[in-house]
C-alpha cells in the first residue's frame, strides 16, 4: 500500500470536512489531490494533531481529519494521552507510517521501523478505536467507513516509502494565505465571524 492511493480514496469522500496536514510528503500529495478551502496545510512537524484537536473541540459538529506521519506523531507523543482522555468524537487521525524520515533524504528509520507500535501506544493511552491498516481493502473498509461514524479514530496506515511527493508540484500557497482562506471558509460555512480577524 502506498500513501497516494489512500489519499486518492480519501479525497473522493471529501465534502465539508476540515483537513489538517503536517509537514511531510502527505502535505504535498494532499494539496495536489485537493484544493478545498477547508484544507489547512501546516508547515511543521508535530503540530497537526494538536491543531486538529483544537479545531475538533471548537467545532464539535464538524468532522476534522488529520493527515500525519510516523515521524510527526513520534515528535508529539503526548498527544496520544490527551486524545485518549478527551476522545473528541468528530476527529479522525490517519498516520501514514512508512517507517522512515523521508525528509532526511537517506530514508533514516523511525522507531516504528524497530520495536515501536503506534496502535498499541494509542490504545494504551486510552484511544479505543486505534487500528493498524496494512492493505488497501482494509483501508476502504475501516478507515473510510470511519468518516460516517461519530467516534475518535486513530489509524496507523502502514505504507511503503514512496518518493512520489518529490515528483509532483509542491503547494505554492503561503502559510498565512492558506490560514486566511481556511478561516474565511469557516466564517462562511459556520455563519459567524472569527474573532481575531477583526476590523482594519
Amino acid at each position: 500500500m502506498i500513501r497516494q492511493e489512500c489519499l486518492e480514496l480519501l479525497a473522493g469522500k471529501m465534502t465539508d470536512q476540515l483537513v489538517v496536514t503536517s509537514q511531510s510528503g502527505q502535505r504535498i500529495e494532499w494539496s495536489h489531490l485537493s484544493q478545498h478551502e477547508g484544507n489547512l496545510l501546516l508547515g511543521m512537524m508535530g503540530c497537526a494533531v494538536g491543531v486538529g484537536m483544537g479545531l475538533a473541540l471548537a467545532l464539535p459538529h464538524r468532522k476534522v481529519i488529520v493527515l500525519d506521519s510516523d515521524g510527526s506523531v513520534l515528535l508529539s507523543l503526548f498527544n496520544l494521552a490527551t486524545l485518549g482522555n478527551l476522545r473528541p468524537k468528530n476527529l479522525i487521525i490517519y498516520v501514514f507510517d512508512n517507517g522512515v524520515y523521508s525528509g532526511s533524504r537517506i530514508s533514516y528509520p523511525t522507531a516504528t521501523a524497530g520495536n515501536t507500535d503506534l496502535e498499541a501506544m494509542a490504545r494504551g493511552a486510552g484511544i479505543k478505536k486505534a487500528l493498524t491498516i496494512r492493505d488497501i481493502e482494509t483501508f476502504k473498509n475501516e478507515a473510510l467507513r470511519a468518516l460516517e461514524q461519530n467516534e475518535l479514530a486513530f489509524f496507523v496506515c502502514k505504507v511503503e516509502e514512496s518518493l512520489l511527493h518529490r515528483e509532483i508540484p509542491r503547494p505554492n500557497t503561503d502559510l498565512a494565505e492558506n490560514k486566511y482562506t481556511f478561516v474565511r471558509y469557516l466564517e462562511r460555512t459556520e455563519g459567524k465571524p472569527i474573532p481575531f480577524i477583526g476590523r482594519g
Partner: protein, 168 residues
C-alpha cells in the same frame, strides 16, 4: 494568590472574550483552574505538555474561539517550538497566562527557580513574543483586555507574566 485576585483574573479573561483555555497546572496561579472549570461559558482543556497546549489553543483560535494557554514559565521553554511555528509563523493569536516562577518579583523565588526565571524574558524576546509583567491587581482587567487586543492585532502569542501578589 488571594481568592479575590484569582476571581478577578478569571473574570478579566472572560471580559476579554477568552472562552477556550488549555493548560498544564503549576503552583502560582492554580486557583484559576476550578474557577474556569465551573464556568459554563469557558472551555478548559487539560494538555499533557505545554507544546501541545499551544497547538490545541491554535486550533481553537482558528475554529473561532478566543484562546488562552495557562502555564508556568518553564512551559515557555517546552513550547517554544509550537509558539514559533503555529504561533508566530502561521500567525495565530494566543494569550499566554504565565506563572512567572523565579523572576525577580516572584515572592516565592529560591535557588530552585531563579535560573529558570532569569531566562524567561530573553527567550520571549528571542521568539519575538511581546509580554507584560503583572505584579498586583491594579487595572488587572484593563491589562488583560490590552493583552488580548494586542495578540489579535499582532496575529500571534502575547504573554502575561504573573508575579508579585499573584505569586503569594
Amino acid at each position: 494568590m488571594k481568592d479575590e485576585l484569582a476571581k478577578r483574573l478569571v473574570q478579566g479573561l472572560k471580559n476579554s472574550g477568552i472562552n477556550f483555555v488549555t493548560y498544564l497546572p503549576e503552583t502560582r496561579l492554580s486557583q484559576i483552574i476550578p474557577l474556569i472549570q465551573d464556568d459554563p461559558e469557558m472551555e478548559l482543556i487539560a494538555a499533557a505538555s505545554e507544546q501541545e497546549a499551544v497547538t490545541i489553543a491554535a486550533g481553537g483560535t482558528l475554529g473561532g474561539k478566543q484562546a488562552a494557554v495557562y502555564m508556568e514559565n518553564t512551559g515557555i521553554y517546552v513550547s517554544s517550538y509550537s509558539l514559533l511555528t503555529v504561533g508566530k509563523q502561521l500567525g495565530v493569536p494566543i494569550l499566554l497566562v504565565v506563572g512567572y516562577l523565579g523572576g525577580v518579583p516572584d515572592q516565592r523565588n529560591s535557588f530552585l527557580y531563579a535560573t529558570i526565571g532569569s531566562h524567561t524574558i530573553p527567550v520571549l524576546q528571542g521568539l519575538g513574543i511581546e509580554y507584560m509583567i503583572l505584579e498586583d491587581g491594579d487595572k488587572l482587567e484593563d491589562k488583560i483586555k490590552d493583552a488580548v487586543r494586542a495578540a489579535n492585532a499582532l496575529r500571534g502569542p502575547f504573554a502575561l507574566l504573573f508575579a508579585g501578589e499573584f505569586s503569594l
